[in-house]
């Protein structure tokens, strides 16, 4: 016991002998407490107290006695479950086919499977309405069907699978790509046929990846706001949208907060399972010699079946996105399909302010988020201090918390002095910074774990202090993670909607909110034009960064956290 006390004292002394480090740790803890934990606490607090501030659970009983709300809860779970299954299947199909067969057009498939990451998540829904809705070019245009059931479960699930399967692909691509082909050779050598080799070797080894992917998709789907707002319709209520409508439509903050708690619960459960249980079960194949794949895992007919399936999904995905581009350049979607640039004029007339605001907010929050992510990653991997695991959990928490919940939390937490931030630029920037740090932390931690700690220790023995070690050694070494954090924080900031929709104001508005309100009022072509502009800006940013960095960044690292 005495020795353990001594040990703790030593750790504390270690911190004390570097006051700057201590200060940074304290500041980060304070920031995480104020901008992640406190808003969540406010959601709980408000949902559980009545007007006079007494403890009262009537908001919950009310929410659960209302059949409509109850339906929302089950619908959310149902869609999330189905999206998790189908998204994973599509992701696995792509990951397996691209890693284990020698089909042509691999580059094309890879691009299709990764690119949607940089698109605003809800344009899938927009496009599905344009394809299958009342004036849909496929349903109404080709088949003459006007009442195709696109609103509700199947439409929503389809939109989410298209949006989120890239997340599954990236994870599973990593998993299957690192299973050494010699294991299959060994299975063949021991008398297994191809199907047995797949079922007994590849499949069991990818189970942790599959489970982890499904949980991530489950969280993404629960948190999704844009797609259900457009597609769920009144017949198919889901929680995230109901919580929003409760607050903005019925001005019932308590009821909204109670629904947010309902939404939060399954997300946190899935997150904890993913992080602390599934996340630890990874198979690592260690082989001394580099192994070259011989690509004989599947027979010829199977190969072409897989190719056709991939092609089908790729074409569907491309159609979804192409529709948006097409829609932006026609007069009135489904009725008058003549080419025009009118929509863009409209966008610049109505939306110029929103475009400026979006860029200001994204360019302010992105670098802060990326730098903070790297600092936290460095602290988590390289420093021992009391509360390290708490810092890790809290900073990664915003990944699990649906945007709707955190958005409600922000309006509840920052609506009075000293933290009166509602309606300001600050509230949006702060929200984005803390929502998108997990991406940076994740890729930073992953990269740092591969960097030999001795390299930093060498810098210490050569006289560098903590700050110099970080800026002169650690940061240059984790630059790739820093830039992928930068790209993803930027993409997320540009496409954010679920939390942001609570925080926008007359003074500070966002393009994404414009897209939703345009499509809500039936101006689909205008919504498309906004979307095209948004995608254009995101692509330009990535392109410029890529040229600037001479292609050192890859899209597929760290892309698994924090949609919408």
């Amino acid at each position: 016991m005495a020795i353990r006390g001594e040990e703790a004292k030593n750790r504390f002394l270690n911190l004390l002998r570097d006051p700057v480090l201590l200060l940074i740790i304290v500041l980060i803890f304070a920031a995480l407490a104020i901008f992640i934990v406190y808003p969540l606490f406010r959601v709980f607090a408000v949902s559980m107290t009545d007007k006079e501030g007494r403890f009262d659970l009537s908001a919950y009983s009310h929410a659960f006695s209302n059949r409509y709300m109850r339906q929302g809860f089950f619908n959310s779970l149902l869609v999330a479950g189905l999206t998790a299954i189908f998204g994973m299947l599509v992701g696995y199909l792509f990951a397996y086919t691209l890693n284990r067969t020698d089909i042509p057009l691999k580059g094309f498939f890879r691009t299709v499977a990764v690119l949607p990451i940089v698109f605003p998540p809800f344009i899938g829904a927009l496009s599905i309405i344009m394809l299958f809705g009342f004036n849909g070019i496929i349903t109404a245009g080709i088949f003459g069907i006007r009442n195709f059931p696109v609103y509700g479960l199947w439409g929503l699930m389809m939109a989410q699978v298209v949006c989120f399967f890239p997340v599954a692909f990236i994870t599973l691509d990593g998993v299957i790509g690192t299973i050494s082909p010699t294991l299959e050779d060994a299975a063949f050598n021991l008398g297994a046929n191809r199907w047995q080799a797949f079922r007994k070797v590849i499949l069991p080894m990818s189970v942790p990846g599959i489970a982890s992917t499904m949980l991530v998709l489950f969280i993404e789907s629960l948190a999704d706001f844009g797609n259900p707002l457009i597609l769920a319709g009144s017949k198919f209520p889901v929680l995230s949208v109901q919580a929003y409508l409760q607050i903005t439509g019925m001005f019932d903050t308590r009821g909204g907060a109670a629904l947010a708690v309902w939404l939060l619960f399954p997300s946190i459960v899935a997150f904890v399972i993913q992080k602390y249980w599934v996340g630890k079960k990874k198979y690592v194949t260690v082989t001394g010699k580099p192994t070259t794949s011989v690509l004989k895992s599947v027979s010829k007919p199977v190969k072409w079946i897989l190719f056709s399936l991939c092609m089908l999904i790729a074409v569907f995905t491309l159609t979804i996105y192409a529709t948006i581009f097409w829609g932006a350049f026609v007069k009135a979607w489904g009725m008058n399909n003549t080419f025009t640039l009118e929509n863009f004029r409209y966008v610049f007339d109505v939306g110029l302010e929103a475009i400026k605001d979006t860029l200001i907010i994204a360019f302010t929050s992105t670098p802060i988020s990326a730098v903070l992510g790297m600092i936290i990653a460095f602290l988590l991997v390289r420093k021992v201090f009391p509360g390290r695991r708490v810092m890790e959990f809290t900073s990664m928490l915003s990944f699990a918390v649906p945007g709707t919940v955190i958005g409600i939390g922000y309006i509840l937490a920052f609506n009075k002095p000293p933290l009166l931030l509602t309606g300001t630029l600050a509230i949006l920037v702060l929200n984005f910074v803390f929502r998108y740090i997990p991406v940076g932390i994740q890729s930073g931690v992953a990269l740092l774990n591969q960097v030999d700690p001795a390299i930093e220790e060498a810098a210490y023995t050569l006289g560098a202090d903590n700050r110099q070690v970080f800026t002169k050694v650690t940061l240059p070494l984790i630059m790739p993670a820093f830039f992928s954090a930068l790209v993803f924080a930027f993409v997320r900031a540009m496409t954010a909607i679920s939390a942001a929709i609570f925080l926008v104001s007359a003074r500070w508005n966002l393009i994404t909110v414009q897209i939703l309100s345009q499509s809500d009022s039936g101006r689909l072509s205008e919504a498309c034009a906004f979307s095209v502009l948004l995608i254009g800006m995101i692509m330009s940013f990535i392109l410029i960064l890529k040229i600037f960095l001479k292609n050192k960044i890859s899209l597929s690292s760290g892309g698994t956290a924090g949609q919408g």
């Binding site: 020795i3 353990r4 001594e6 040990e7 030593n10 002394l13 270690n14 002998r17 570097d18 030999d452 001795a454 390299i455 220790e457 060498a458 810098a459 210490y460 023995t461 050569l462 006289g463 560098a464 202090d465 110099q468 002169k472 050694v473 240059p476 070494l477």
Partner: protein, 359 residues
């Protein structure tokens, strides 16, 4: 004394279990000496090194550097440099920039810096490679950069953490001579960690043999090999035979040991204080057993079980009448007779080479 470790003890606590990594390490290291910490993995040698470097704070005890207590000083404020097992070169910097790293932090002027870097690249043999990056260098060259980067700081103490374990056998041999040459040329106090006894023997002034966090013996390479203080050291360094028995008489530095299972008496050199009747063991190196008559003071009878021809020598195994087996070796087999398997044979050893320790 440039480096003193005073009763250093390090206990690691993880999930409630305490592990004593270093137990009461007490040693003074003189200016210009090269002291090697030698022991099997997990013996605490690396932890001791990291305590000297400042990466670990000892649970108890003090570290004194040039008379100053540095126990709680962070690594960057001690005048100590370290050469790492993985070299730990900065992958984003060139050879030159790697060597300049510490000098830049010291804000040395450009001219002095250039001069020092040139001297260093000459000393360690890196001329012409200054602009290369670490991944464009061979293992041996990377090792030289790591050494240069540490030496250029002119530290009071230089630490080596298994610096040669990533090199192939041939290179290892030449590099250890190289390290010793440079260390003596610069006259720098060094602490060297290795689990390779040959490496330790060939470069050290003093060897500290460690096991389970404890210091087993401190001494010159010769002492460690020829006069081990306990079975662990005798067994860990080189190959060894033990013959167990009881002290029958002590006379000056000679001990007569009775081995009842063989029914024989042997005369050996005293490696401790004994009383008559003490259980002891005779430490006998394979090369001390010979068939030459002049060592006839101690005689063993046994049967040759097998032999292995290794070029410069022949190793063979002998079974004694009590069933115990001994290893013996003869050199220069071209000149000498080969042992014959199954043949009864007589072997002799001198008093000098029979080192008696407590068992």
């Amino acid at each position: 004394m440039s480096l003193i470790l005073r009763n250093v003890r390090k206990v690691f606590t993880s999930y409630g279990t305490q592990t004593v990594a270093v137990d009461d390490f007490d040693q003074e290291i003189g200016k210009g000496q090269l002291v090697t910490l030698l022991g099997p993995s997990g013996c605490g040698k690396t932890t001791t090194l990291r305590i000297i470097a400042g990466f670990e704070v000892p649970t108890n005890g003090r570290v004194l550097l040039d008379g100053k207590d540095v126990t709680n000083l962070p690594p960057n404020r001690r005048s100590i440099s370290m050469v790492f097992q993985s070299y730990a070169l900065f992958p984003h910097l060139t050879v030159e920039e790697n060597i300049a790293f510490g000098l830049k932090l010291k804000r040395l002027d450009k001219k002095t810096m250039k001069k020092k870097i040139r001297e260093m690249t000459d000393l360690v043999g890196l001329k012409g490679l200054e602009k290369r990056r670490p991944d464009q260098l061979s293992g041996g060259q990377q090792q030289r950069v790591a050494l240069a980067r540490s030496l250029v700081m002119e530290p009071s103490v230089l630490l080596f953490d298994e610096p040669l374990s990533n090199l192939d056998a041939k290179l290892r041999e030449s590099m250890r001579l190289e390290i010793r040459r440079i260390q003596q040329e610069v006259d720098i106090t060094s602490v060297y960690v290795t689990h390779d006894q040959v490496e330790a023997m060939s470069i050290s002034d003093v060897i500290v043999v460690m096991n389970d966090g404890k210091v087993m013996q401190i001494g010159s390479p010769f002492d460690i090999y020829a006069r081990p203080q306990n079975s662990f050291v005798a067994d860990f360094i080189g190959r060894v035979n033990f013959i167990d028995g009881e002290v029958e008489s002590v006379d000056g530095d000679s001990v007569t040991v009775l081995c009842s299972s063989l029914g024989k008496r042997f005369v050996g050199s005293k490696g401790g204080e004994f009383a008559v009747g003490d259980s002891v063991r005779i430490v006998l190196r394979p090369e001390s057993l010979s068939d030459r008559e002049e060592d006839k003071i101690n005689i063993l009878n046994g049967k040759v079980l097998k032999y292995v021809f290794l070029g410069s020598n022949v190793e063979y195994e002998i079974e004694l009448p009590d069933g115990k087996r001994l290893n013996a070796v003869t050199f220069n087999p071209i000149e000498r007779k080969f042992p014959v398997v199954g043949k009864e044979t007589e072997l002799f050893f001198s008093k000098k080479s029979a080192w008696v320790i407590k068992s």
